[in-house]
Structures are given as structure tokens and as C-alpha cells.
Symmetry: C2
Subunit: 301 residues, 2 copies
């Protein structure tokens, strides 16, 4: 799994700070998460193939998280995209995008599917044989979801020597990869763990932005390998964080600590701060493995 940060600042886009958007490479997917104004230019800058993006997840309908979406949809049309595009986001997202298409009299020539969300409980919103995505209900000024991306367990790998010694018919190999015990050619039971290795450990990534400090998310993201958690403010503006339902770096670190996260990535920095390293310093008082999001930065998970 690999995460590329496109934009990670709050509120207004500026020359060198971009609103939220991220690209997650997970198994054979490229997922786009949030899509602030200018995202399509950042996708080009970081040479991410437009045609491979088939699923876009929008956390909430504040402009810095989705004002770039309609332009991206429109650009896909101009590039004669064929592949379906699925948009997951709060109720209302379909109306606002389709209204803009209607006013422009410019409808997509590819399949555009909206999956509107309104549940306040975590729910499974995407699943295939390799990956699942669940919402993480967040506590913000408007209806907002984070997203938990989880790989499914990979097939076990055959131990070629042992499987041959055990005299298992080739027909049973796929059952072995799925973790089942099988009978060999002599009718004897062969224990799966004796003839296979575990597959690669499935990884998980949680995206949590925007939100106030919200311990209710801890069980949902428990033991996540990497947690992106917004930290709009430093401790000196803690009251402002509470008022606006945003988090401080320390809030984010407390969540990471309580959820046993492997790593914490901070972002959604307010542009009032000159030195984003202060976010790391404050968070590290609560949690050790802290990284800072930065446009163009790639995290291997």
C-alpha cells in the first residue's frame, strides 16, 4: 500500500499550499481521497494516470475537500474517458455535480455513479476480493466521514518442498492457498500450516479529516497500520479547534495512541503556522511515530 499526498492544508488554496487530496495505491486500485480545488493539476504534476482512478471518496462538502471534483469529472469527459467512475460522498454530492453538468449541457460519456452516504454508523461502502472500505463517522460542523481502507488477507503461499513431500494433488493447491486442510493422494489429512507460509500481512489505512477530537472512532480504527488524522491547530489554539470542530496535533496523537496505530500522519495544517515541524513536536509528546503530510510526499504503508 502506498499513499501519495497531493494537498494537506486547510481552507484556502495558495501558491504552495493545496487543500486536501490524497491518492492511495491499494492492491490493484488507485483511490482518490478528497478533491480540493486544483487536485487535477496536482494529479498531473505527480504523473498519476487519470484513467486508473475509478473510485473517489469525499469526506464532506466543505469546499477545500471537494471543489476540485466537478472539474476532474469534466476533464475526464474531455479526455474521452471510457471507464466507470464511482463517487462516494455525503448526500447532496450528486445534486451539486449533476446541476453543474446540466448548466453546462455537458454530460459524461462514461458511467458516473454516486454512492451517497448519510449513516452515522460505520458502514461498508466498497468491497471486492482484495480490499474493503468502511466509513469512519467523524465529528465536524457538517456531516463528515473518514474512510478505513483495509486489504483482505492475501492467499497463503505454498511451501513447494513440503507440499510435494506430502503428496497433495495439484487440484487442491488453491484450497491450500485459501488456508484449508486437504487430503493427500493416500487419503491422509494434511494440515495447512505444515505445507504453506502465511501470505503478506494485510495492511490498513485510515483517513480522518475533518474532525474534532472524537474517541468514538478508536474502536473502528483499532490497530490500523497508518492513520492520517487532521491537526489543523497547535495547542495554543486548542479553544479554536474545539469551536470549529477541528483537532490539535495532540488530539490526533491521543487518538493514534489509544487506537494502537502503527504510524500517525498529520495534515490539514492551518496556513497561520510558519513551521509545520511544531505539529510533530507537539504530537510526539503523546505518540512516537509521527509523520507530517506534505504535497508530493509518498508514504509506504
Amino acid at each position: 500500500m502506498k499513499l501519495t499526498i497531493l494537498g494537506c492544508h486547510s481552507a484556502t488554496p495558495r501558491i504552495n499550499t493545496h487543500p486536501t487530496s490524497q491518492v492511495l495505491y491499494i492492491r490493484n486500485h488507485i483511490f482518490l481521497i478528497d478533491c480540493g480545488e486544483g487536485t487535477q493539476v496536482l494529479l498531473r504534476k505527480h504523473k498519476i494516470k487519470f484513467s486508473r482512478i475509478k473510485h473517489i471518496f469525499i469526506s464532506h462538502l466543505h469546499g477545500d475537500h471537494y471543489f476540485g471534483l466537478v472539474g476532474l469529472i469534466s476533464t475526464f469527459r474531455l479526455l474521452s474517458r471510457q471507464a466507470d467512475l464511482h463517487i462516494y460522498g455525503p448526500k447532496g454530492i450528486k445534486e451539486v455535480i449533476t446541476l453543474q453538468m446540466k448548466l453546462a449541457d455537458s454530460w459524461t460519456n462514461y458511467g458516473l455513479y454516486f454512492h451517497e452516504l448519510n449513516s452515522k454508523q460505520s458502514e461498508l461502502i466498497f468491497e471486492d476480493e482484495k480490499v474493503e472500505v468502511r466509513t469512519i463517522p467523524l465529528d465536524h460542523r457538517i456531516y463528515t466521514n473518514g474512510f478505513l481502507f483495509k486489504e483482505k488477507p492475501a492467499p497463503r503461499k505454498l511451501n513447494a518442498n513440503k507440499v510435494r513431500e506430502a503428496d497433495v494433488d495439484v487440484a487442491y493447491y488453491s484450497k491450500l492457498k485459501q488456508g484449508a486442510d486437504v487430503y493427500n493422494n493416500d487419503g491422509q489429512l494434511v494440515k495447512n500450516q505444515d505445507v504453506t507460509f502465511p501470505g503478506p500481512e494485510p495492511k490498513s489505512y485510515a483517513f480522518c479529516s475533518d474532525t474534532g477530537y472524537d474517541p468514538a472512532i478508536i474502536p473502528i480504527i483499532n490497530k490500523v497500520d497508518a492513520l492520517y488524522h487532521e491537526s489543523t491547530f497547535l495547542q495554543q489554539h486548542q479553544r479554536l479547534a474545539e469551536l470549529t470542530k477541528h483537532s490539535t496535533a495532540i488530539d490526533a496523537a491521543k487518538i493514534a495512541q489509544a487506537a494502537n496505530a502503527g504510524k500517525l500522519i498529520l495534515g490539514h495544517f492551518s496556513s497561520r503556522y510558519e513551521d509545520v515541524e511544531d505539529f510533530r513536536r507537539e504530537a510526539q509528546t503523546e505518540f512516537s511515530d509521527v509523520e507530517l503530510a506534505e504535497s508530493g510526499k509518498v508514504f509506504e504503508i
Copy 2:
């Protein structure tokens, strides 16, 4: 009058080519004309004071001409703008902007006024003591207007020596500046032209994008000092221009020639062309004073 080009390419924003937006300095106004995605970042880049923009003119509701508007309105709010903002654009613009504010539960704390257009005739849409703005109905795939910006005649200037010699009372000076004849202290008529100089020549600027070749606009823009006319295509794609209701460089030049324009500025270039100088070369077969729009370029009119 001074025109700053922010973006002047068609269709999709790229790293170094930006969709349409321009800033016109006219008398004491700063007018924003069209507002493609990323316009607010270009305004910052070119150090244009956000608070001085009080009127925004949107030609039509294709995304490359207005997808940056909602973000700009939202940024004005975040910057605690106080001044009213007036938006002039096609019917529908109010609905699409207010829907996005509603979904974000983020209303402006300044006055936001929409002036929706639906006339197919040229109409006066803004006027004060120094400037007037009229629509230029264009021929595009959806309802589209260009805009004609005209300075009103400036007051005449007093010829200080002559006015003293003629013994005109100071009370009549403002009448003289307005061009009227007046009586002097001896009751004799003083001809205005004997004691005043003409004020600076009023200037005009016409913005015409997007449009197919449309001679109907010629009388509206007759003798305009500077004409920005879209030229999406070169001659080799003339058929495509007709199909999509865009213009070639030669179409634009023919309009400039027939309208006795002072200068032609070409823009809205398709990104398919490597060398935009070809647009100038083709246009100059029909009209001599041709300039090419370019992001950041400033034209004194």
C-alpha cells in the same frame, strides 16, 4: 485601463496552462472576468488585492470559465471580507453557488448579489459615473455573453490662463468641466472650447469568449480600443471550430478588422498546439495589431 491575463487556455487546467480569467483595471474599479479553476491562486500570484474585486463577470457556465468562482467566494468569506460582491452571469449561476454554500452550511458574511442574465440582446448591466458595462451576446453551445467595458468621457480640463482672462466665476468651473458654455462676470457668453481642453479619451475593452465566428457582434464592439477574442483553433481545425462553436485565429482577426478594433488580443488556445505564435501569424493575414494572451501578461489599453 489595464488588463492582466490570469489564464487564457481552453478546457482543462494543467500545470502551466490555466483556464480563462482576467482582471481589468478601469478607472477606480478592478473587475474580474471569468473565473476558471485555480483563479484565486493566480490572483495571489499576481498580487491582486482580493478586497478590491467587487464585480465579477462570468461569460457562461462551462467549467473552464467559472469552476473557480465558488472557491473564491468561499475564500473571501474565510478572509472576513466586508465589502459587497456582485456576480454577473447566466441564469443558473445563483442556484449553483448557493447550493454549494447550503451543502457546506457556510454562508457569506458579506453581501453577495447575483445579477442573472438571460437576454439575447446586448444590455447595460453595470453603470456608475465613470464606467459602463454591456453584454455582447455570443454564439456558443450554451448561453454566453461577452462584455464591453467602456469608460465614460472624462471631464474636460480647464485652461487656467484662458479661464482667468475670460473672467469666469469659480462657481461655473464645474459646468465648464462638464462641457457647457457659461456667462462670465460681465454677462458675456464664454464658449466652452475656448477655455477648456478635452479630457483624456475614454477607452473601451471587449471580452469575447467563447464564441463561433459571429459578425452580429461587430456593431456592438465597433471601434473598441482592445478586443480580446477567443481563438481556440488554428485554420487546420476550422471544421472543428465550427462544430464546437469556437473561433479560429482568422475568425477573430476578421471580427477585429470589421469592427475597426485598435488591437486584437487572442486567447483561449487549445492545448493541442505547441507554439501559440502560430495564432498570431494566422491572424495577421487579416489584421495587423495582434497580441497573444499569456498568463501574467499585462496590456495597457
